[in-house]
């Protein structure tokens, strides 16, 4: 049965209608969405970096202590430039859980998941409970988060200054938590501890960290290890 022109006509009409549904100009508009490719620029990045030295409107960042962690005398600040409230510490706890705990561990002892998986190859992850870090002014913690420290990458692109102070406050809380004598606890907290079943494995030294499979072991890159003070 051959197709007659008359049989073709409705088909052609149907295809014609379908084709009009294929206009793409509203679907792909000539606008730049964030992180998209753009042929206009040499590096083809749609998202542009601000010109160095740009000051965002209304955000002159004149409060050096708040934005750098260093006081006017060029020394790390010892006092928080923001009011230390329960809210700040809660925020710090949440942000710490997002950005730090998988390396530094929930208790800040440097025993996070990633640390156990080989970060120790080049440099051990910082343990907050050393004498040196306990004595450090709070500005130091702000500075480490902002600019990184040795092999640790900076986080200033990802964590806002207020949240960095919140994290610094939470680290101070962690440090206190690990050296508070049991006698200083309120009676009800102590009762809770007494009620807990004793688990000897909690007192055992941490299990030795298993080395990752040989295929994966990377020689520590020299450049990375050299950065620390």
């Amino acid at each position: 049965m051959a197709m007659t022109p008359r049989a073709l006509a409705p088909l052609a009409l149907a295809f014609g209608l379908l084709a009009t549904g294929c206009h793409q100009d509203m679907w792909q508009q000539p606008k730049v969405k964030s992180q998209s490719r753009n042929e206009f620029f040499v590096d083809r990045m749609g998202s542009r970096m601000p010109v160095p030295g740009t000051v965002a409107y209304g955000q002159p960042r004149t409060d050096a202590e708040f934005y750098t962690g260093y006081g006017k005398d060029g020394k790390l600040v010892r006092e928080f430039p923001v009011p230390v409230t329960a809210e700040l510490i809660k925020r710090g706890q949440e942000r710490y859980g997002i950005f730090c705990s998988h390396c530094h561990g929930a208790a800040g002892d440097g025993q996070g998941m990633i640390a156990k998986r080989g970060f120790t190859l080049a440099r051990p992850v910082g343990n907050y409970h050393s004498e040196r870090l306990r004595a450090m002014p709070v500005g130091h913690f702000f500075d480490v988060v902002t600019n990184g420290y040795g092999t640790m990458y900076p986080f200033k692109a990802r964590i806002k200054p207020y949240d960095r102070w919140a994290i610094a406050a939470y680290i101070k809380v962690l440090q206190e938590s690990q050296r508070t004598p049991i006698a200083d606890l309120p009676a009800e907290e102590r009762a809770k501890l007494d009620a807990m079943p004793y688990d000897p494995s909690q007192d055992a030294p941490p299990e030795p960290v298993a080395a990752p499979p040989a295929r994966t072991v990377a020689p520590a890159p020299a450049a990375a290890a050299g950065g620390a003070q």
């Binding site: 509203m26 679907w27 992180q35 950005f99 998988h102 998941m113 080989g118 990458y153 990802r158």
Partner: protein
């Protein structure tokens, strides 16, 4: 002159009568089946990526919070795909020789961004915003499928308008709060992955979400959904208005 129409033509005539009625519908149906099939929408089809990044591995087995990489998801319209630096936070130290990470190292050396292929997208005439959904406690998995199970990221939903509207018409069916904890809606979203990472027991709704199933609200629980909606300040009266998503 021989007969033009042999007896066989009778059959052809009857068949074509039926075919004439049925075939157009069949064509339309296959057409619509094709457009809504993974072949067209790419739903559940893993995309080729410059590096075989695994969410299952990073977000669940290693327990890295979504926000470590998708930094702006709570605060802006875009969740954002992480920059090379974010990967290098760890991969400058671990698995530094893995061939699977070649693209990441090359990107760092040459200071050019990694070009991840976009998995999820809405057309340019649709406005979508992550922050409001996260602030109201809508789980990522509701829209993106079981991200926690993805070795290579795939699309969980085609983001058809009708699909967005099923929830915008009845958001109470998608409101969830873990009865055992007192979390803010925002934290509720991420608690699911924390539980999965820690291997904690999931509630029934969390199980559905973690398996990438549609969240089903039992009829006797709907009033709780309404209650949560009020607590979270969801303004349902304007959620279906065209200008919410098209402006």
């Amino acid at each position: 002159m021989p007969q033009i129409f042999g007896p066989a033509v009778n059959t052809i005539a009857t068949v074509s009568l039926f075919a004439g009625a049925v075939v157009p519908f069949a064509l339309l149906l296959t057409g619509s089946a094709l457009t809504s099939s993974p072949y067209n929408t790419k739903v559940t089809v893993p995309l080729d990526q410059p590096a075989p990044f695994s969410h299952r591995h990073h977000a669940v087995e290693l327990g890295i919070d979504c926000r470590f990489c998708h930094v702006s998801v709570e605060e802006s319209a875009q969740a954002g795909v992480p920059s090379t630096d974010v990967c290098m936070t760890c991969h400058s130290q671990i698995w530094t020789n893995s061939p699977n990470l070649e693209a990441v190292r090359k990107s760092l050396e040459t200071a050019t961004p990694i070009e991840w292929n976009k998995v999820n997208a809405v057309p340019d005439f649709v406005y979508f915003n992550h922050s409001i959904h996260v602030a109201r406690g809508i789980s990522c998995n509701n829209c993106h499928g079981a991200v926690n199970d993805m070795h290579i990221t795939w699309k969980g939903n085609a983001f058809r308008m009708a699909w967005c509207l099923t929830c915008h018409e009845n958001p109470q069916n998608y409101m969830y709060a873990d009865p055992g904890s007192n979390l803010s809606p925002r934290e509720q979203v991420f608690a699911l992955y924390k539980k999965l990472a820690a291997g904690d027991k999931l509630t029934q709704v969390e199980r559905q979400l973690a398996d990438g199933l549609e969240q089903v609200m039992p009829a006797d629980k709907v009033h709780e959904g309404y209650k949560l909606m009020n607590e979270r300040g969801v303004n349902v009266s304007q959620l279906k208005d065209c200008y919410v998503c098209h402006h």
